[in-house]
């Protein structure tokens, strides 16, 4: 899930809720016509508490979004009259969250409930997206990663969601036992100020592609038949390369990658001729790497699984018939190769820089003769393990940096629908008469 997907779910569900009126009827309350699924007052009060808990999760998400996009990591200071708008909004969100929700169960316990009413299901989606979205802020949606314009987009999202929650708070006031948001006028006013500020300055919606993603895991199912098995093995090798391989295993991996490229190149001649040159080039690069790393040593690390999986990939590629390979499969393999190259380049650079790999070299040195002080020193040759960062260089480093360099990061694109989702929420908030009354009241 990306930030855009989580925030988008909250926005879309909120937009839909803002379009719904006659709230009591939507949770089985009294209506002019008999409802198919009526509820008692006690049940409606229980539903109100559940909605309150989901709302609390959404507000917590807003608080985390504001924290992630704010340079100051301290909680907002005491009440003053001259707070900047963003600090003001943070202040009122923090104060609102100090009041615990009526429902004391953790929100996680409410996320898998089966609700009878669509309105509650929508709130549940909001709670779910808010709980999931909390990961995004600790991963890469924070000021350590995002640009100022992307931070503005995050702040704008939080402000709009706060505004929507305030509108719904007013609309739900007839639910039995409904807990009104404390400081709602201040909250709304601060959120409106921030939203206006964000609209004036413009935002970068590419933040939507960032967010938490689970780490790739190995495919542990039995070997798949044909080319799928080769893809499976290459994927598993890539996953295991996250563990540092020792020198001997690194050399085995390099050799197996060369053979895998060679085998894939043969398949490409029939299936996908445009890949032949790239695969052949890769095989040659790995062949050179193998020969350049003949004297490489180092006992720290693992890499056994990566070696086995790379050999699996090679043997499956050599066995599979070109008639059973599709063009898409070969391109998927090429993408895996590219990722493997980047991972191997990073691993080897790290091993060389941190002196985990050494080069065995014959060094010549002058040794003074201890028996005669005025005699010329002896010239001796001995074998030594030298770090690659010493004057003794191998051809490995240039190859790594020039041929296995990770591809440049793609310029992120705004996902489709990102702008529309925000405009829809804005329109839903702007068309609410409750908001205008609240605005007039707070001023």
């Amino acid at each position: 899930m990306t930030y855009g997907e989580n925030a988008g779910t909250i926005r879309d569900e909120l937009t839909e809720l803002l379009r719904q009126h006659r709230v009591l009827q939507r949770i089985g309350g009294p209506a002019a016509h008999p409802l198919p699924n009526p509820s008692t007052e006690a049940e409606r009060a229980e539903m109100g508490r559940t909605i309150d808990r989901y709302r609390h999760a959404a507000l917590t998400w807003c608080r985390m979004a504001l924290d992630a996009a704010t340079p100051s990591k301290e909680p907002p200071g005491p009440n003053t009259r001259h707070r900047p708008p963003l600090e003001d909004l943070r202040h009122w969100v923090y104060r609102t969250l100090r009041t615990p929700p009526a429902e004391t169960r953790p929100v996680l316990e409410l996320l898998d409930l089966q609700h009878d009413f669509e309105l509650l299901s929508r709130w549940q989606s909001i709670g779910r997206a808010a709980a999931l979205g909390e990961h995004d802020f600790t991963t890469n949606v924070n000021l350590g990663t995002i640009t100022p314009d992307q931070a503005l987009a995050v702040v704008g999202d939080a402000a709009d969601i706060v505004r929507g929650l305030v509108v719904l708070d007013h609309r739900y006031k007839n639910i039995p036992g409904w807990r009104r948001l404390p400081w709602r006028e201040h909250l709304n006013s601060a959120a409106e100020d921030v939203a206006g500020l964000v609209r004036e300055q413009g935002t970068d919606l590419t933040v939507d592609v960032l967010g938490w993603r689970p780490a790739p895991a190995a495919i542990t199912s039995p070997p798949l038949p044909g080319m799928a098995g080769a893809l499976q093995a290459q994927h598993n090798a890539l996953v295991d390369l996250a563990r540092f391989p020792h020198a001997l295993n690194l050399r085995r991996i390099l050799l197996a990658q060369a053979k895998a490229s060679q085998a894939a190149g043969r398949l490409a001649m029939t299936v996908s001729p445009e890949l032949v040159e790239r695969l052949g080039d890769r095989a040659n690069v790995y062949r050179t790497l193998v020969s350049q790393s003949r004297n490489l040593g180092g006992i720290i690390g693992h890499g056994g699984v990566a070696v086995a999986e790379t050999h699996n990939a090679t043997s499956r590629l050599e066995r599979v018939s070109a008639h059973n390979v599709s063009c898409d499969q070969l391109h998927a393999l090429q993408r895996l190769f590219t990722l493997t190259d980047a991972r191997l380049a990073t691993t080897m650079e790290r091993g060389l820089a941190e002196k985990l790999y050494f080069v065995s070299e014959v060094v010549t040195e002058l040794v003074p003769d201890p028996t005669a002080a005025d005699a010329l020193p002896d010239l001796r040759r001995r074998t030594a393990w030298l770090p690659v960062t010493s004057p003794t260089q191998t051809g490995i480093l240039p190859l790594l940096r020039e041929r296995l360099r990770p591809p440049p990061p793609r310029v992120p694109e705004v996902p489709p629908g990102a702008q529309e989702s925000r405009l829809a929420l804005e329109a839903a908030i702007a068309h609410r008469p409750e908001l205008r009354r609240l605005g007039a009241h707070s001023r």
């Binding site: 001997l248 050399r251 085995r252 060369a258 053979k259 003949r294 004297n295 080069v359 014959v362």
Partner: protein, 99 residues
């Protein structure tokens, strides 16, 4: 590893490396590299550096490599492992010279 063992291993490695460098095909070169890796694995990665070998005659290099690898048995290296290594070398030679 004693000095004589290290010198012999360096010699064997250098001949196999030279075979890989002068291989006629990419497949053959990779198979020679595989034999070299097997040789290094027999010594747990404790390897003396390779040295440049002036000879380019593949048959001569192969004979020298086979002799050097065979003599490693006198230094306590398992004979079966050495035979497997020699078999890899032979397979690489056949693959490289296949018409």
């Amino acid at each position: 590893m004693l000095l004589a063992h290290a010198l012999l291993l360096a010699e064997a490695r250098s001949y196999v490396a030279a075979l890989a460098d002068h291989a006629l095909t990419l497949d053959g070169a990779l198979e020679y590299e595989r034999a070299l890796l097997q040789l290094d694995a027999l010594h747990d990665g404790a390897l003396p550096p390779t040295i440049a070998v002036p000879a380019t005659d593949m048959e001569l290099l192969k004979d020298l490599a086979v002799t050097a690898i065979g003599h490693l048995a006198y230094h306590g290296v398992d004979r079966l492992d050495l035979e497997l290594c020699l078999a890899m070398l032979q397979a690489a030679h056949e693959l490289d010279t296949r018409p």
